[in-house]
Amino acid sequence: MYDTPDLERTTVTQEVKISARNCQVFYGETHAIKDVDVDIEDKTVTAFIGPSGCGKSTFLRCLNRMNDTIDICRVEGTILLDKEDIYDPKVDPVQLRAKVGMVFQKPNPFPKSIYDNIAYGPKIHGMARSRADLDEIVEKSLRRGALWDEVKDRLKEPGTGLSGGQQQRLCIARAVATEPEVLLMDEPCSALDPIATAQVEELIDELREQYSVVIVTHSMQQAARVSQKTAFFHLGNLVEYGETGQIFTNPKDKRTESYITGRIG
């Protein structure tokens, strides 16, 4: 009588995009990340949750070698992207960051026009041969960032003139302009109001059809809403990693349950 929508949860595993084994991160003498093993799948949203200072942002920044900018930070272990070790001495971090894009907590558009914000990445990576190519890339990226309709007739206006949610979507569009394969997001919604947050979450849902998205969030509820797989970090260790529905209804580790129910900070 009534059609039941397909209830099959995507229990079909996607192929592994990033694989970390025995990963350690040291800040000087402090051992910040300990023995992390995780497989991040393609075309999936993976959420990293955990209390403050548990190392989730640190680990995220290892995935595109942003930790290189911090002198006292040392990374050991292997992190493979498409089976290639990203910490191999032959790898240029600049090239890596074209493949692994990043969106930050506070929206940080360049103080240039909206067009130039998006065009900067493709320009320095030589992805456009002509002005027409660049125009096309800008439009494609803005569409993917769910921003095209709102800004298509004011591309020359400064990026900083947009609202908070629009700015963050601009940053996301900027990140996808370089045709990355992985998108890293470090608490992308923490500076946004609830409506803007919902818009960004809907965008993330659309993006996972094409990219592997890893999102660090201090809001468990956001991780529950947005991700298909969740990893719980605590004091530098990866405590549990599994399918989001299972983690939030029936976690295997006691620490995960304590954190999710609000019993430990």
Partner: protein
């Protein structure tokens, strides 16, 4: 939370006391704050008072330098004096020296006396000859001016032309109130007779004070001719020096700053450099002068008193200022911009040059212009390289000469004038200060405008 020990004191607030009544503690605090506000206002008042007093002194003392007394005369350029051969050849005319021109001016003055029917013993003064009592009324450079004018346009010979002849510095002083009848009693430059004549001529409008453009554009003059002294050449000297400072210190300072801020590794050596840069900013400027003498003049053998050398010395002095202000600007760019650029895949160099530097530009420009303004007013380093005391009397011909020919600088010129005995030079020193201040104000206004123009919100 509430101190029960204090509650016995009569000034402690009663629990549940009315808000509409101020308790004693609040009253005391309000009184203290009011007193502090008054102290602040008083401090500002003192500062303002001294500022106003300074400006008043400068303006009243210096504004006189912009006006110069001169005689309006009609000079008959008699051909038999100036061009005896009558052939109009320039070489022959040039043979006629200033000695020959003097009688013409004297005659013109006598004509004026006669025309206005002035009764004065000087109307009997002789016209020809090497000297005449009338000469004391004119500037000793007046004949030179007349000759220059004729040589520039020989067709004037034979005509009667109108000319403003510069009055001598004593006459000028008399017009401006520096010189009084009592003071000339002991002065051999001028007698009462002259002053009477001048009074009569003032009444008839022959002697007037007019705006002295030559003060701003003209070259410096010797001790004897303060009425002809001008800032023009030393302004050029300062200008060329500023060019050197700008084109050397800006790139070097900004590049050094960028390196220290973005690329230098964090080790003891870098710390040492940073400490020393801050210390350099505090080194007395005369030390730089000695350095300039030793390195640029004696070792590299650059020409003495050249604006190039002055510029190099001032570059060394301004570099620490520019480096420090550039570093402050670079530090003020939020790291989120750098992160964003790196996240998109820019290299460190690209991130700095495409993003950080443009945002730091207002601060850098401001620092540079302030550094330039400071350099503009420096005298001590120029002392030892020979730019102080050099009489800047010749315009440099050509750009290369502008850098390499000996010259002076504005503050040095002011110091020079202040040293000389003649009170006319003293007035000119104040006038020079006014010009210098105008320059500095202009540079500061440019700094503000540039900063506004490049300010970008992020």
């Amino acid at each position: 939370m509430t101190d029960t020990a204090l509650s016995s004191a009569p000034s402690a607030p009663r629990k549940g006391g009315s808000l509409l009544e101020l308790d004693a503690r609040t009253k005391r605090r309000n009184a203290a704050e009011a007193r502090f506000r008054i102290y602040g206002l008083a401090a500002i008042g003192v500062g303002l008072f001294f500022l106003v007093a300074l400006l008043y002194a400068i303006v009243t003392n210096g504004v006189g330098a912009f006006q110069q007394t001169s005689f309006e005369l009609r000079i008959d350029l008699r051909q038999e004096v100036l061009d005896p051969e009558g052939n109009g050849k320039i070489e022959d005319i040039q043979q006629v020296k200033t000695f020959a021109y003097a009688p013409l001016i004297r005659q013109a003055l006598l004509d004026e006396i006669a025309k206005h029917d002035i009764d004065t013993p000087l109307s009997e003064a002789k016209v020809t000859g090497f000297s005449s009592p009338l000469d004391k009324l004119f500037s000793s450079g007046a004949v030179g001016n007349l000759r220059d004018r004729v040589l520039a346009d020989p067709s004037l010979i034979g005509q009667t032309i109108d000319m403003r002849v510069l009055a001598s510095s004593r006459v000028d002083g008399y017009m401006k109130g520096r010189v009084s009848r009592e003071s000339i009693a002991r002065d051999k430059n001028l007698d009462a007779v002259h002053l009477d004549l001048v009074d009569a001529l003032i009444a008839d409008g022959v002697v007037t004070k007019s705006f002295n453009l030559a003060f701003i554009t003209g070259p410096d003059a010797s001790d004897a001719r303060p009425e002809q002294a001008g800032m023009g050449v030393s302004m050029l000297g300062s200008f060329f020096m500023m060019l050197v400072v700008l084109f050397l210190s800006l790139p070097i300072g900004v590049a050094a700053s960028i390196y220290l801020e973005e690329f230098a590794p964090q080790n003891r050596f870098t710390d040492l450099i940073e400490v020393n840069i801050s210390n350099l900013a505090a080194v007395p400027s005369i030390v730089f002068g000695i350095l300039g003498l030793a390195v640029f003049i004696q070792f590299v053998h650059l020409p003495q008193s050249a604006p190039l050398v002055g510029g190099l010395v001032l570059t060394l002095m301004t570099l620490p200022t520019i480096i420090i202000s550039t570093r402050a600007s670079l530090k003020s760019v939020p790291p989120s911009i750098r992160d964003a650029a790196l996240g998109v895949g820019a290299s460190k160099m690209q991130a700095v040059f495409h993003h950080v530097l443009p945002l730091a530009m207002p601060g850098i420009l401001t620092g540079t212009i302030i550094g330039l303004a400071q350099a503009l007013g420096e005298t001590a380093p120029l002392l030892l390289i020979g730019m102080v005391g050099y009489i800047a009397s010749n315009y440099p011909d050509g750009i290369a000469a502008g850098f390499l020919a000996p010259n002076s600088a504005m503050p040095a010129q002011i110091y020079e004038w202040a040293k000389r005995a003649d009170p006319a030079f003293y007035e000119r020193a104040w006038g020079g200060i006014i010009i210098l201040l105008v320059f500095l104000m202009t540079m500061n206004i440019i700094a503000i405008l540039l900063r506004r123009r490049f300010e970008r919100r992020w």
